[in-house]
């Protein structure tokens, strides 16, 4: 098992290294570097300014030279400097990663808490009215565009029935009222973005859970368990659900891997200070350092969560072994 984990971690590092260069190179191919954008916004910039700025930013170097400087800085623990915001990357990313993590984690936990029981419930009553209603709302959740849903939530719950703030991450400028007061303050800003984000996730997870449970309930061992006279709850949760976990683990692991990559549309609509919009803006604005660090984090999360998922298969299914 240890060997397996080590081998996978080495593979992860190799994949990150290769993908980081590919991403860096692709960004250099994008038209319009930071100096180009400065030229377009400031008519007084001269040819001398352009040459000077390119040299200062290292944009006159080939991409592999710039990449090697970037890797060298990363290995020294320097994440670099944001060209757009003019501040160190860690200062920019740190709070946003925290906010994104909170948003995504809360949305995910909320989604799982709602969707798994609903999916199981629906699978136990296939073809019933309840099943149809649950399926209808699941498809609605999957189909509804997130930006529309976000705007509707704001109109309903912030304008018409002013229960929650229309946007933001926390109350601005309030006195330091302690950890719990701060937590409560942040939580009210989370309600609408979490609702918007999780409605879509709930739809997907319900469908997957239902499908996995139906598949599991069709197995012979379920018939055996019933024949043996086992209680219904034991059959459902210990036998059927346990076997339905494998595909669920896959989908949940992939969802967890996006915890740090953010939800750009939700964050934009709710003006929520997350890393999703920052990543998008940094790619569009050719802010290499921010984009690359965000990219590395996303890739690393996907690869690590895949490893976690693989390990959890072994836990869920004793037949799977990594020795």
């Amino acid at each position: 098992m240890t060997t397996y984990i080590l081998r996978r971690l080495i593979q992860t590092l190799a994949v990150i290294a290769i993908l980081s260069y590919v991403c860096f190179y692709l960004m250099t191919l994008m038209p319009g570097d930071p100096v180009d954008m400065m030229i377009s916004s400031n008519p007084k910039i001269t040819a001398a300014d352009v040459a000077r700025l390119r040299e200062l930013y290292g944009l006159d170097q080939p991409s592999y030279v710039r990449y090697s400087h970037w890797v060298g800085d990363i290995l020294k623990g320097e994440l670099g400097y944001s060209r757009t915001y003019r501040v160190p990357v860690q200062e920019l990313l740190g709070p946003r990663l925290t906010s994104t993590f909170i948003l995504s984690m809360v949305a995910l936990i909320f989604s799982i808490a709602i969707s798994v029981p609903l999916g199981v419930f629906s699978a136990l009553r296939p073809g019933s009215k309840v099943d149809y209603v649950i399926n209808f709302f699941s498809f609605a959740g999957i189909s509804i565009p997130s930006f529309w849903l976000g705007i509707v939530c704001i109109i309903f719950f912030a304008v018409w029935i002013p229960l929650f703030p229309a946007g933001g991450t926390q109350t601005i400028g309030g006195p330091d009222a302690g950890f719990f007061a701060d937590l409560l303050d942040r939580s009210k800003y989370l309600v609408l973005p979490v609702l918007s984000l999780s409605l879509q996730q709930i739809g997907r997870f319900v469908r997957f859970t239902r499908s996995a449970m139906l598949e599991s309930l069709r197995n012979d061992f379920i018939r055996t368990a019933k024949a043996k006279g086992l209680p219904r709850q034991i059959i459902i949760w210990r036998h059927a659900f346990r076997n339905a976990l494998i595909p669920l683990i896959t989908i949940l692991a992939l969802s967890i891997s996006s915890i740090f990559s953010g939800a750009i549309i939700t964050e934009t609509v709710f003006a929520y200070q997350g890393v999703g919009k920052l990543t998008y803006d940094s790619i569009i604005g050719n802010d290499f350092n921010v984009a690359m660090v965000s990219f590395i984090i996303s890739v690393a999360m996907v690869l690590i969560m895949n490893l976690v998922a693989d390990l959890l298969y072994g836990v869920a299914d004793p037949r799977i072994s990594y020795s």
Binding site: M37, I39, P162, G173
Partner: protein, 583 residues
């Protein structure tokens, strides 16, 4: 009690509890609450902007939103007001050749200007340190450093040196590199607090970008002593908001509004919702698009909301650059046909309810240099017949399919602009229809702004027509957009904004003379000649002059959007919402 009813009660209780815990968006000061039905008061004003901002180092910042906010905390020698007039801020008076406070000198065969600027006796940084000539000299030193990423150095390096009077540290002699008439227009020459920033510059200034990475503006933006304006920054959260409170050391009138929060709301679609829910109290000129403002104005009237939607004519010039590399557009008759066949008056009425004025050339009516005298500029009143005649003369015959052809080639022009800009896309559709009536096929092809401006326009890859806007200030030389040396090419690193590839030697000479002409009447004559050449050659199709839009509470007094690049925050200390200023 059955399960469903229990669940329903639990849900109702939860919502009720959350409603009690939740209140409308306010700051920690619970005595003030801004809602859609009540007006904001002087205790606090929350302003929404939709554009990102960066760190507020006045030498390094390049974003409009940063400049908008900086003007609340930083002042310089002079600025431009809403009427387009220069006025003093930190300076006691504006030097001029007339009163002898400025003079032209000949140094080694080169004409220079020496001007005396005297700073206000009570001008201080917000830690009480007086502002002196040394702060301006230091700013010049930093800006001139090759290791500092100042975008456009000429703003600073047009001044060769700054010397302080030994007897009066607030009396400065500026020696300008060239004798240009607008030598006094130093509205972006901000001083730096030498007593705080010099140690940073001395320590890190030799590293590439060392100064700006370690500047107090970056590391400690709320530090006392960094600002000299009516407000000081008390909180910065990049990408979210900036909080401002009055600067007790400010040289001018103390501001009435006790706290201003500028909040970033990236999605303009939710800006209105944020306003109506009380998250913000007003929307700045960097907020809504025109069509959103028009729609909101209707709601303000129908629902009697306590806001005013302002539409301020601006200098911003929306236009279509014509690619003179395109063989079709090389023919001036085609260009004249395009401008004659463009009904701009109808366009602004149809799309903008007349809130934006049709343009006749690059200079806006807000600019003292504007003229619509047909003796001074060539005007092209709309005439579909005249436009058709010009195309016929150019050899483009109308075909059976409704499009013109010449030598077997269809008169088809690629029309590009920034993708995702609804207003521009509407204009494209409108023009497509107009030109179709003339037999001209317009093929639209849009790109994201960074591609459009970063690559396409500068390298003239836009086919035929590129629509965008120029923002400038009144009495601004059009050198960067008209001069032959401003044509972007590989040799000049693709700098310059003459994207049309328009070269008019007569105009080049006129622009060179314009910079050096000190007589206002002669300058006017020169600019009119330049504009005449511009309207004769038609390298560009003027569309309209944009209006800046903002939404303010009805009770906000002394708010005057300027319509140019020196934002209304220049006057923020005069803004008055009425009501108590005490907490």
């Amino acid at each position: 009690m059955n399960k469903t009813l229990k669940l329903g009660l639990a849900a109702a209780l939860t919502v009720g509890m959350l409603a009690n815990c939740t209140k409308k968006e306010t700051t920690g000061d619970t005595s003030t609450e801004a809602t859609a039905t009540t007006s904001a008061k002087n205790a606090e004003l929350k302003i929404g902007i939709s554009q990102e901002f960066e760190n507020l180092n006045p030498l390094i910042m390049s974003m409009s939103a940063s400049s908008y906010m900086y003007r609340m905390v930083g002042r310089t020698l002079v600025s431009l007001d809403a009427d387009g007039k220069w006025f003093t801020q930190l300076a006691k008076s504006i030097p001029s050749l007339d009163n002898g406070s400025a003079k032209i000198v000949d140094v080694g065969g080169k004409k220079k200007i020496i001007a005396t600027w005297e700073l206000l006796d009570n001008a201080k940084w917000n830690d009480g340190t007086p502002i002196t000539c040394d702060d301006f000299a230091f700013a010049l030193k930093v800006a001139a450093s090759p290791m500092v990423s100042v975008g456009e150095k000429e703003t600073f390096t047009q001044v060769e040196k700054i010397e302080a009077d030994p007897k009066n540290p607030k009396k400065c002699t500026f020696t300008y590199e060239k004798a240009k008439w607008d030598f006094y227009a130093l509205a972006q020459f901000y001083p730096l607090p030498k007593h705080l920033e010099e140690p940073v510059f001395n320590k890190y200034g030799k590293e590439k970008e060392g100064y700006e990475k370690n500047s107090n503006y970056t590391k400690n933006p709320t530090m006392k002593g960094l600002y000299n304006g009516p407000y000081t920054i008390t909180e910065v959260k990049l990408g979210d908001h900036v909080t401002f409170e009055p600067n007790t050391e400010f040289y001018g009138t103390q501001p009435k509004i006790q706290k201003i929060i500028v909040k970033l709301i990236p999605n303009t679609g939710t800006m209105e919702a944020n306003l109506r829910s009380g998250t913000i109290d007003m929307i700045s000129t960097l907020g809504l698009s025109l069509d959103e403002a028009l729609a909101f104005e209707k709601k303000v009237k129908s629902e009697n909301l306590p806001y005013v939607v302002t539409f301020t004519p601006s200098i911003t010039y929306e236009h279509i650059d014509l690619n003179l590399d395109n063989p079709i557009l090389k023919d001036i008759k085609v260009r004249k046909a395009l401008i004659t066949g463009l009904n701009r008056e109808d366009l602004v009425k149809a799309l903008f309810e007349g809130k934006q004025e049709a343009a006749i050339h690059n200079i806006s009516p807000k600019d003292p240099w504007f003229t619509r005298d047909p003796k001074e500029v060539t005007l092209y009143p709309y005439s579909k017949r005249e436009a058709g005649k010009l195309l016929d003369e150019a050899g483009w015959a109308m075909g059976a399919d409704g499009y013109r052809t010449k030598d077997g080639k269809k008169l088809s022009l690629v029309f590009m602009t920034t993708a995702g800009n609804k207003t521009r896309e509407l204009v494209q559709v409108y023009l497509q229809d107009q030109y179709k009536q003339l037999g001209v096929e317009i093929v639209t092809k849009n790109e994201p702004a960074r591609v459009f401006f970063g690559e396409t326009t500068r390298k003239r890859k836009y086919g035929a027509m590129a629509m965008f806007a120029w923002v400038s200030s009144p009495e601004n030389s059009p050198r960067s957009t008209f001069h032959t040396t401003s044509i972007p090419n590989e040799k000049n690193g693709w700098s310059g904004q003459n994207f049309m590839n328009w070269s008019n030697k007569d105009n080049d000479k006129l622009m060179e003379a314009l910079d050096l002409e000190f007589d206002a009447k002669k300058r006017l004559d020169l600019i009119h000649k330049i504009t005449k050449n511009y309207t004769d050659d038609v390298p560009v199709l003027p569309l309209y002059y944009r209006s800046d839009v903002s939404v303010v509470p009805k009770n906000l007094k002394n708010y005057r959007p300027t319509g140019h690049q020196f934002a209304e925050t220049n006057d923020v200390e005069k803004w008055d919402l009425g009501g108590s200023t005490l907490n």
